[in-house]
């Protein structure tokens, strides 16, 4: 069953095609969208979340055409985006950040979300005092608070130390284990790929690969995009 279908989607900014004729179906639980800087990963994520609208092409989520839906409507349907640069509600406490979304798609067990993301002890703290690593966790917790059918994670471990990243990857593995479906944009490949089922690679807006993890490492187009030549690497 296809959860998400992207069909010939193009988005340009002036003369620059940030996303160029991208098509794919997401049938698996976890998909990583990877690519070098400027590949169009975040633009693609914004198109899926309704924060941008494509110039051409259609996006279907659970078989409904959501191409021109506003972000709040897409989120209510169950596709929810978190941000690469954390965007907590700084005048609220950690728990209030989750309470905000408690009515979006039915009630959730906040205690469970706080425990899963390691924020239980910080629940009454204003988010303004939290260090960056915890804010990244809060970003994930906010997404979970909406009871998503598909969580769009924009660089969830970007900017974290190796230890912090490993801890968050463990959390993502646990979420995958309990059936949370995720589309993860990330460029720290070695750390995030063990969590995902399939990989989609972009380069300068175009999709250059969509397949399994093992195929990804041996794909010549991917090697060229990352290393400059398909002859290099091992």
């Amino acid at each position: 069953m296809s959860l998400l279908t992207v069909d010939h989607v193009t988005r340009s900014f002036g003369g620059n095609r940030a996303v160029d004729d991208v098509s794919f179906e997401m049938t698996e639980n976890t998909l990583a969208v990877v690519g070098p800087n400027g590949a169009g990963k975040t633009t693609l994520l914004n198109l899926l979340a309704g924060q941008l609208h494509p110039n051409r092409g259609t996006i279907r989520f659970q078989y409904r055409n959501i191409t021109h839906f506003p972000p709040w409507r897409i989120a209510r349907m169950g596709m929810v985006k978190t941000y690469q640069i954390v965007r907590p509600f700084r005048s609220l406490t950690v728990e209030e950040n989750l309470v905000l979304f408690s009515h979006v798609r039915g009630t959730v067990d906040r205690d469970e979300i706080l425990a899963e993301t390691g924020l239980t002890e910080w629940r009454n703290y204003p988010t303004g005092v939290l260090p960056f690593g915890l804010l990244k966790r809060l970003e994930l917790a906010k997404g979970l608070a909406t009871r998503p059918d598909l969580l769009l994670l924009d660089e969830p471990i970007g900017g974290l130390s190796r230890a912090e990243a490993q801890a968050l990857v463990s959390t993502l593995s646990a979420l995958k284990g309990r059936g949370v479906r995720m589309l993860i944009v990330e460029h720290r490949l070695s750390e995030i790929l063990p969590v995902v089922d399939r990989v989609l690679a972009l380069d300068r807006g175009r999709m250059i690969f969509h397949g399994s993890r093992s195929e990804f490492y041996h794909d010549p187009a991917v090697r060229t995009a990352y290393l400059g030549s398909s002859d290099v690497g091992g």
Partner: protein, 394 residues
Amino acid sequence: MKAPDHRPPRFDWDGMRQRLVSPFYLVALVAIVVFAAATAPWFPAKSLPLSLLSPWLLAVYFPFSVVFASVYLAFLLGWGNRLLSPFYFAALIATFVFVVLAEGDPTSYFALSLVFTSIYITLALAWDFSSGMSGYLNFGLPFFFGLGAFVTGYFAWGGQHSIPFLLTVSLGVGALGGFLFSFPTLRLRGPYFSLLSLLLPLIGLDFVANFWTQLGMPTLGYYDLPFLAPTPGAELVILSVANGFLLTVLYLLRNSHYGLILRGIRDDEDALSSQGIQTFPYKVVAFTLASGIAGFAGAAYALVVTFAGVDTFEFTFLFLPILIVILGGAGEIAGAVLAGYVVILAYQYTLQAFAGLNLIVFTALAILLVLFLPRGILQPVRQFVRFMRTPEGG
């Protein structure tokens, strides 16, 4: 990372509610409310045995009991924890301390000053609830203030002299006007909305100055309106009750899920939207409510000065409430009440002490206060409380 554990112990709300629902408390509450209604300034108290009591006691009892009843009701409904803030109680106490002080001489200049202060506080509460909490700067407040004043004038000249009716109808028309304005314009973001709202008072001024008489209306406004109450002291009682009630309702809303969303809009509206919250209806409700409150304040002002004129659209009714909100801390609600007394009494003192230069002196004072207390007068108190609660500090 482990959080230092210095959370306050949880309060037993269920136990508290069960105690409040006991017949003894309920009978006491009904008695208080009935007695309060009988002592209300509009009620013909002379025909009652209550006239045996001192006027001071009657005047003070009315506001106290009305606000006590609304706080009690909030606790009974299980919303008590939303009011459990030292700032809320400080604001409530300040409101009634001033009533008690003014009732010593209900016809004095001090009492009249407090009447105007109360009107500005009502406006500041309206502005704080909509703009302070949501971050959408609404410069159209004087329009709804003037609208309330003119609606009062219109109905008073039409033969309606019931003060509760005039206040209520002005509140309703203000809210309707606020809805009609905010529904199309709140689709705009930040500065674009603010610019449009800025035009509203100018439209009001222009309309009254240029077209009013052509419509067969009295020149520049309605005069000889009925008084809000016989003395400034009695007017202060009414306005303090309104402010105490407003403070309670808005504070409850501030700490509700609705208030959380308004504060979320101020922090990051796009992030809210991307996670499934359609912010538009929340903003429209806030601005409709605020416009209604401004209409009420306009009606009260017209009934205090017995004139609904073109001056009600002036920017003084915007500048001072905004200054109050900045000093009280945006979105704090209780801060608007506490700062209101500081700002307006200071304004009136500079008015007396520096005739002619008062605006310059007052603006300089305002700049100094904003420079040194950019997040309001409650911020140092809040920092002190937080410091005392941390293990290192307390």
